[in-house]
Point group: C2
Chain length 335, copies 2
């Protein structure tokens, strides 16, 4: 006869719920308790019943995609990637937009009970500041894959690009083009992707032997007008700045508009590079050098992992951390 | 006692299904039969039971949005408009992409049985050449609202912009800027929106007293490379062409690339205007004059109508044909 959770609970004089949470590495359970549970589980040769916890979520043939925004070239291409797999598998796709609002993300995730969806693909909002709602979803055994904007403390599959490397490549490109003072335009700095991009920027500056006076991180705002004013003030106030990295596309196109107003010539006086998936970056005036994320591939890979977990009950999402490289497209804005 | 469908069927010696279809103006029923049914229904003062046919579709709290593409500025903004209403109403939104494929549209619509969705918002694919699948959905009493790309022969709510007027405004703008030979770059010419835009073009030329030798409709292709080659051949072959209307955004940005290759200067040698929702049209080189559709508003209005029909069982979707005006944004490409 095989050992079950109940046997572990009885032996350790803990509740079944506690054992279950401990086995899932829940943050609600202390490290000491987790260790006791795992030790006994190993001793008694406990193997989890892969059916027990997953059965209730099968059968809707529907997955949820939760993302900040759809009117954005990265996310709309990622949806295309997700949909291409879902359609092939005969699944339906519910799309939820958080509009970068933490509260909205919480309320959306609450609705995934009762078998409405079989699995979730999630890119977290920029204002998400704590992760209880994600822990909860995870502990309910909802198959969950993060794409692009991940929550690092949740132990499940993550599909990203290497943002540190991309930030490094962007900065090094500007340095090679002769820039001496590069501003990093940041937004949503609590997101891991922003932190990583900025880390790459810092690494490249350090490698080039530049000191802190040459480092300039400009924190922009979710409100476009506020961001515009911030960028304008920075470029007006310090004419030494000869390079700009837009950590998101919008900040680079805003920089174009600010330069237009201030009569700063791109690329002669200021070189601009942006993280962007804009298909027509080449048609901007001047054409925009971009670090382009593999948006379609990220969506497709995330969906593929999720369906693998839905189809094979032993498939371990936790083991999957996939990184797909971004690419530098050099155009006139940095020439 | 009130008169029911069964009474009508008995009296006319027809099946209940035939009566039901005739009352719904189904294309499967001959005009003669419809007339007989409607005549008797009127005589006997038959009023349809609004609950009978609609009840089975309530309760999923889910609507479906079927559209050609999401990586497109018009449709992604329209989804934002739809989602803004759905979220407020506590509804879930399934998104389906046809990728402009007729067969895919048919197969998507088949899946809406069995209460999966309460209602459908639909923008038809450019390759949809007959409408049985739409008639079927309509006859099953599925609340249905068309947005942007409508099927004119289905008698339900439609939310559009006035494309004939918009085509007229675009053409008149080029004429006023001095253009003598204007090419209309067409795509998906079986779509009603394309036909209307072209009609506006023809109307404006006629009004200006231009004859058929000045009319030039260029049929482009869904394949980008083919379209590029077509535009290139046309602009190379006829240097008299001094104005271009891109009936979709992509054809205008392609025209930019072709002009770059052929060293044709915009706007000096060729003026370009496009139907476009591109937010950064102003940053193109040169900035692009656009006819901009009210994408968010169209999505929002379509969703609002659908929810009205879901909430009030007597609400008549058939009566709703809403047109929201497009706007001309004049920029350097036509100066």
């Amino acid at each position: 006869m095989s050992i079950g959770i109940k046997d572990l609970a009885k032996e350790l004089q803990l509740s079944v719920a506690t054992i279950s949470k401990a086995l899932k590495d829940s943050h609600e359970i202390s490290p000491e308790t987790k260790e006791r549970v795992l030790k006994l589980a190993k001793e008694l040769n406990y193997t989890p019943n892969p059916y027990a916890s997953s059965l209730r979520h099968r059968g809707s043939k529907t997955i949820a995609v939760v993302l900040p925004e759809v009117a954005d070239s990265f996310f709309s291409m990622a949806i295309n990637g997700i949909e291409s797999v879902a359609q092939e598998k005969g699944y339906h796709v519910l799309v939820y937009l958080t509009h970068e609002q933490f509260e909205r993300e919480i309320s959306i995730l609450k609705d995934f009970q009762n078998g409405r969806v079989d699995g979730v693909l999630l890119s977290i909002s920029s204002t998400t500041c704590e992760y209880n709602h994600l822990h909860k979803l995870y502990e309910e055994n909802m198959p969950l894959v993060f794409f692009d904007r991940v929550c690092e403390e949740i132990n499940t599959a993550k599909v990203q690009t290497d943002d540190t490397q991309a930030g490094y490549v962007a900065t090094k490109h500007l340095l090679e083009k002769g820039c001496k003072k590069i501003a990093f335009l940041s937004m949503n700095s609590n997101l891991s992707i922003t932190k990583h991009r900025m880390q790459g920027y810092v690494d490249a500056l350090k490698e080039a032997g530049l000191n802190d006076t040459q480092k300039l991180v400009v924190e922009c705002d979710s409100n476009d007008e506020v961001s515009y004013a911030i960028i304008k003030r920075v470029l007006e106030g310090d004419r030494q700045i000869d390079g700009v990295i837009g950590s998101v596309e919008k900040l680079a196109t805003m920089t174009y508009a600010v330069c237009d107003e201030l009569l700063i010539k791109i690329p002669q006086q200021l070189k601009v590079i942006a993280f962007s998936n804009l298909q027509i970056a080449g048609l901007l005036n001047p054409s925009l050098t971009t670090i382009t994320q593999p948006a379609f591939e990220i969506g497709k890979t995330a969906a593929t992992l999720l369906f693998r977990a839905l189809e094979k009950r032993n498939f371990d999402l936790k083991a999957e951390h996939i990184s797909i490289p971004s690419l530098l497209f050099e155009r006139k804005s940095t020439s």
